[in-house]
Structure formats: structure tokens, C-alpha cells
Subunit: 404 residues, 2 copies
């Protein structure tokens, strides 16, 4: 039967690709499969009772208000809380019109892309980067200029030459997308020196930075580095934050902080995409924060994941062929990025799935190709027993890949 839809599809549909991570869920959710694939929090780290108390309280106190339509810009008490709570990271308190509450930080990417991107425009990003974000940008018609990374994040010293080249080719660069802390998928963190350089280059060229920081508060070692936003002051940095990792992703509450002109533009686009973020969800998150639960539980969440990272590192050192694989130990976040010397990640994936252990291939994180000998593993989701057993299976799969 011929599809009635085929002739009706637009440009975005014709090039649409499902998220490779979401699409592989049917493999990773098979019974007995140990998954290091999806970047999911450990449900054991969810503060369920505290959240329930918050939900109950806010519905008791403000039920009629939070069941009503909300302003597109966000639930005002939550914005006021975030203005205070994020001030250390942002370098100052954001004003009400510098903050927009969103349906997770994915929506920040969508709204900024609505504001700026026409098909054929370019976004600059790390050479491997979060495929969810590039998928969103690609739907808007973006192409990508990628910048290689090392343990200190994006090699920003390469940017001026890349920008000159783009200019020479008549390519319109609309923004620079970066994940400076505990990068997804690379695990690296951008050094302070590079942060300063990046902000300066952005200002010199008049090209804004989208600073995507969902993992920034999940730091295990060392001190927090200043956000790109805090190193600026000109309005060239838009910061994307999220409650997904510091509370729970099922809330779908995130935020954008930045220059009021672009925040306003994004809010007007938000009117058209969902009117406002679930007021019920925003208000429950707000009450959770206001009751002090965010500050009380966040250190516990960080401790919980630090131990998981350490267990993961131990298991990798124990079971993987160390001469064949390398990684940078992440200072925070959710991910290890493994690069293999000889093994093809795709062949390894097939062997690993055969042994019921899953990871995410490197390739889909490279918008312009690459990553054939790399893969991402999430250390937050599996239990300690699963981590040990899964790593054992992965080690066996690697050995078999070397000696087929």
C-alpha cells in the first residue's frame, strides 16, 4: 500500500533520523542485557519521598494557581529561586527577563535554533557532541563545523582559523554549541584558560555561545570552574540548565539564562511550541527546591555517582585489555568515552550485545563522521553487580574482537 504521507513530507521529514540512542532501547531493554548505553540516572538516587512531599504541599497551597495556564516565561517562584540558586555559577543573579523555564534543556536548543537557524546555516560544536542536540539543530536545517577535543575540552585555539575558513566559504555560523563540564559523550572538562579564550573569540566574531551544562553540578573531584556565562558580560553566552540530573528527568524542567533580547525571542517561539512548560511540574520542582531538598539531596546524589564512577573505573581496569583502549577519567557527569587502538566499535557492539552488555557507538556523536573506534559508556545507571558483570562481558567481547 502506498503511503498517503510520502508526498506531504517536508524537508525536515525527508532528512529525519531517529535518535540512535532512543532507537536502540529495544536492544538494551532485552531481558538480561546490562546497559551502559542510555545516559539515565540511577532511580535509587531519586528523592522520591521528598518530591512527593513537595508535590503534596504545593497542590495543597497553590492548587488552583498551578492547574491554570502559566506564563510562557515560566513559573515566577521557580524563576526567583533559580536566580538565587544559580548566582554562584552565573557570576550574578539573573533578572526575571533573563531566565526562561523550558521543557528540559533540549527545548533550549530547539528554541535558540528557531530563533537563528535557516537551512544551510552552520553551528560550531565539539567534534564529538551530544547527538540529541545535533539532531534538533539538524531538523532546523543546520550543518556543522566540528572542533577536535582533548582532555581539556574543545581545542578553541583552532576556532579562528575555522571561522576564517567558514567566512571565506560564505558559510553563516549562527552559534557555537559547547558542553564545557563533563562532556557528553567525551567526559572531558574545558580548562579555565580555554573558557576565557572561547568567550573572547565569540565576542570578537559576534557569534554567540550556547553553553549546555546539564551535568555541571555533578562534580566529583576538584572545584567548579567558572561558567562561560560568568566570564562574559556582553550577553554573548546563553546558558542551558536542567533539573534532569540534579533532581530527576521525569520532571522535564530546564531553563535558559541569557541576554534578555534572545530570551524574549525564544519565549515567543515557546508560545507556539507548547504555550508553557507544565506548571504542575514546575511548581512541584519549585516546592522541592524551596523546602531545601535540592540542597540537601544534591551532595548525596554527587556522592552516589562518585562511588559509581570509581567502581566503574575499577571494573574497567580489571576487565578491559588496557593496552587496547584508552580514556580520560571524568571529573563529574555520567560518561566514560573509550577509544580503541585496533577494535572496530561496531563489530565490538555486535559481540557485546551477543553477550548481553550494551554501550553506545561513537559514530552518531560525530555530526561530520568519525568515531569508528570509540564508544560511550554511562556509569550511573547499572548497579555495582551489573557493572562488574557487564565489564567482564565487555572485556571478553574485546578479547574476542582481537582474536576472532
Amino acid at each position: 500500500m502506498t503511503s498517503i504521507w510520502e508526498p506531504l513530507y517536508g524537508r525536515a521529514s525527508r532528512s529525519l533520523k531517529p535518535s540512535p540512542i532512543r532507537e536502540m532501547l529495544h536492544l538494551t531493554r532485552r531481558p538480561g542485557v546490562i546497559s551502559f548505553a542510555g545516559g539515565m540516572p540511577d532511580p535509587a538516587a531519586f528523592p522520591v519521598d521528598a518530591f512527593r512531599e513537595a508535590a503534596n504541599r504545593i497542590l495543597e497551597e497553590q492548587g488552583r494557581d498551578i492547574l491554570q495556564y502559566g506564563t510562557t516565561e515560566g513559573y515566577p517562584p521557580l524563576k526567583a529561586f533559580l536566580s538565587d540558586w544559580t548566582a554562584p555559577r552565573m557570576g550574578r543573579k539573573l533578572a526575571e527577563d533573563e531566565l526562561l523555564i523550558t521543557a528540559g534543556s533540549t527545548q533550549v536548543v530547539d528554541l535558540l535554533s528557531w530563533a537563528t537557524i535557516d537551512p544551510g546555516d552552520f553551528v560550531i560544536c565539539e567534534e564529538a557532541t551530544f547527538l540529541g542536540s545535533t539532531g534538533t539543530m539538524r531538523n532546523h536545517g543546520a550543518s556543522f563545523i566540528t572542533v577536535p577535543c582533548d582532555g581539556d575540552g574543545m581545542k578553541v585555539e583552532m576556532l579562528p582559523a575555522l571561522l576564517e575558513e567558514a567566512k571565506a566559504k560564505g558559510r553563516k555560523v549562527k552559534y557555537i554549541y559547547t558542553i564545557p563540564n563533563f562532556h557528553n559523550p567525551l567526559g572531558c572538562t574545558m580548562s579555565l584558560q580555554r573558557r576565557r579564550q572561547l568567550v573572547q573569540i565569540a565576542r570578537d566574531w559576534g557569534i554567540p555561545i550556547l553553553e549546555d551544562d546539564p551535568y555541571g553540578y555533578i562534580r566529583f573531584d576538584g572545584d567548579h570552574l567558572p561558567s562561560l556565562f560568568s566570564l562574559d558580560g556582553s550577553g554573548i553566552v546563553i546558558y542551558a540548565g536542567s533539573f534532569s540530573k540534579i533532581l530527576a528527568p521525569g520532571t522535564r524542567v530546564g531553563w535558559a539564562g541569557g541576554d534578555r533580547e534572545i530570551i524574549r525571542k525564544m519565549a515567543v517561539f515557546k508560545q507556539a511550541v507548547d504555550v508553557c512548560t507544565s506548571v504542575v511540574a514546575q511548581a512541584e520542582v519549585y516546592k522541592y527546591c524551596e523546602l531545601g531538598f535540592l540542597d540537601a539531596f544534591l551532595p548525596k546524589i554527587v556522592d552516589h555517582y562518585r562511588k559509581k564512577r570509581d567502581d566503574f573505573e575499577t571494573a574497567m581496569r580489571r576487565f578491559l585489555p588496557l593496552e587496547e583502549v584508552s580514556w580520560v577519567k571524568p571529573q563529574g557527569g555520567y560518561f566514560y568515552w573509550l577509544e580503541t587502538r585496533r577494535i572496530s566499535a561496531r563489530a565490538l557492539f555486535d559481540r557485546a550485545i551477543g553477550k548481553k552488555v550494551a554501550f553506545v557507538l561513537g559514530e552518531p556523536f560525530f555530526p561530520n563522521g568519525g568515531g569508528e573506534q570509540a564508544f560511550r559508556m554511562c556509569f550511573t545507571f547499572a548497579s555495582p553487580e551489573q557493572t562488574e558483570e557487564g565489564m567482564k562481558r565487555l572485556g571478553e567481547a574485546m578479547q574476542e574482537s582481537l582474536n576472532p
Copy 2:
């Protein structure tokens, strides 16, 4: 100071218009203003305690699951509930892959537009139609072909000629957007005969229908008419539903029902816009339904608004100059649409705001112009006392417009 953003804005930004309703909130929220403007439910009709009980119960029973990321397609128990609950309206139970949970029905418009619309494409809609939807479509680059309406809804007999004309001009029509029940803003309901005709025309031309039905369950008089979806069977109708009016808009939970190919396409776009609808909000709505509250409260909500409509009708007949204004009494929904014989709606609006009573101008509901002598009033939000006092003021404003 020059904006750093101006050179970066894309096509959609350059033609972006804020929602006139959202933007006039600063006028209608002034102290003492009686607002018939926004299409907001009466908070007194929100089942706050029942919703709180549902939230508490689901967080107690399923807290860890609903704080986690959910599938993009929607919370499975809610989908199962909707499949049953909507079966009378849909003519059959929808399968799991024929349903997509969305962030309100606005997101259904966004996702279908993502799938189909390229700049320059056309959507067919009622000559006055919900400006939120046309705003979303316009961001995607849609233009509009409008079909006049009467008390029986869209004059569908005009469609074949309009479609022929569009074809002759090389215009690509991507879908037909209609609000068959208790139209926003017109208040009219499409007759059964026209529903049958519309579905036949859509099938003959291979042009899908987006049936937007947020008000469909809020019927005061007479029997429910069959949905367009139920009159089809070929997959040409996509149905958009919402909990905003049958429960509360602050949840931001809606749904799309339709052919599995287009539902799948829309789900893949949804991955990129918000990953999934707030699982917390979906699960709380689900529990509210599952505990029987939806069926228990909906008749009370309908009774509540029937009385409000009747009070509104009484007040209009008492205070407005009946020879100067006409309307069709709505059988359900939220709105009266008033057409004036001589009075300019814009001049009346200024006078009315001066007297502290607000409505929404007709013009922004006409995507191709018109509506200068029409305006929309929402009867659900104001209290009985406010309705009487507001209508008195509006009557005075109309008299003054006639005799300035």
C-alpha cells in the same frame, strides 16, 4: 546599542509575531479589569483535591518510574487509558502506536507541521481560526487558504473549488486544519453532513485533516456528533485532544491520535523538541483518570460552564444593543463570537479597556485579514458578578461607540 542578535536571526524570527492574546495580558490583568479575553478555565472548576490525591498516590506507588526519562511516545498507562476512554469518540480503540502523548494540543500542531510544512506551503483552515495554531504553522513557514463559516461550521462545499484554484496556482496544500466542535473563536459546531463531506473531500484529494478538539467534551446541549476521525477509516484524519479543558491546562498534557506512520514521524520529531512530555505530569493525570475522577468531575465541569454560558447569554441580552450585534449561541466550549453591524472592534476595544472590561479583537483570528467588526468573548473565566458588571460596561462602551 546595536543588537548582537539582529544579524543572526533566521527566517522564522524575522516574521515572528507574539500571540496577541498572550501579549495583551498586561492590559487585561490590570487591577479592576474584568476580562472576557483569555480562553481560561474557571479555577473554581479545578478538582484540586482529587488531583492532589492522584499525585500523591502515583508518586507513592510509582515514584521511581515516573521520575525517570519516559518513552517519547508517552506514558504507557495513560495511553492505555486514553485508548479506552476515547473509543466512543474515535469510533474504535486506538492501538498503542496510533497514540502520541504531547505537551498539550499545541504541540500536535507543531509536530505535524514539522513533518509536513516547508516555507511556502499552505494550510487550509476556517476563515477565523485559533490564532495560536496559525502562529505555530506560520513559524514553520505556512501560508493559509481560508474557508468561510456559518453556524454549521466550515462551508466545506467551497473546498473543491479552493483546492482546484490552489492546484492551478501550484500551491502545495499540506493539511486542512479544523476545530469542528465549539469552534475557537467562532463558537459554531460543524454539522454531521459537513463532517461527512469534509472527510470525503480530504480522501478524494489525499490531503489530511488535523481535527483539533480541545473543547469537544464540553457540550452543554444536544448529543455529541461523530468525530471526523470516526467518519474516516483510511488514516487521513489526525485527531488532537487535550486535558486542558476536561481537567486543567496547567498539566500541559494532550494527545494525537491517527495513522501510525504519521504518529511515528511526529514522535521522532518530538525526540528533538522535548524528549518526552513531563512523565510526572502524565502520570498524575493518568492516576486522576484511573481513580475515576475524570468521569466523576467532567459532568460537573460541563454543568458549571453551561450555567456560565447561560448567565453570559442573559447578560448580553440585557446589556448589549441587540440591533447592533449578533452571535450564534454555542452548544459547548468557551466562546461567544460577536459580529457588529457598525461598530469597529478596535475602537470598541479602546473604549472597553477605558471602562475596565476586556475581550479579544477579531482580526488576529483571520490569517488572511478580516474581522474588523468582530470580537471574541470567553464566558468561562469571569465570576457571575463580573459577567454582569463587565457586560454592563461593554454595553455602555458600545453605546458610546455608536454616539461618540
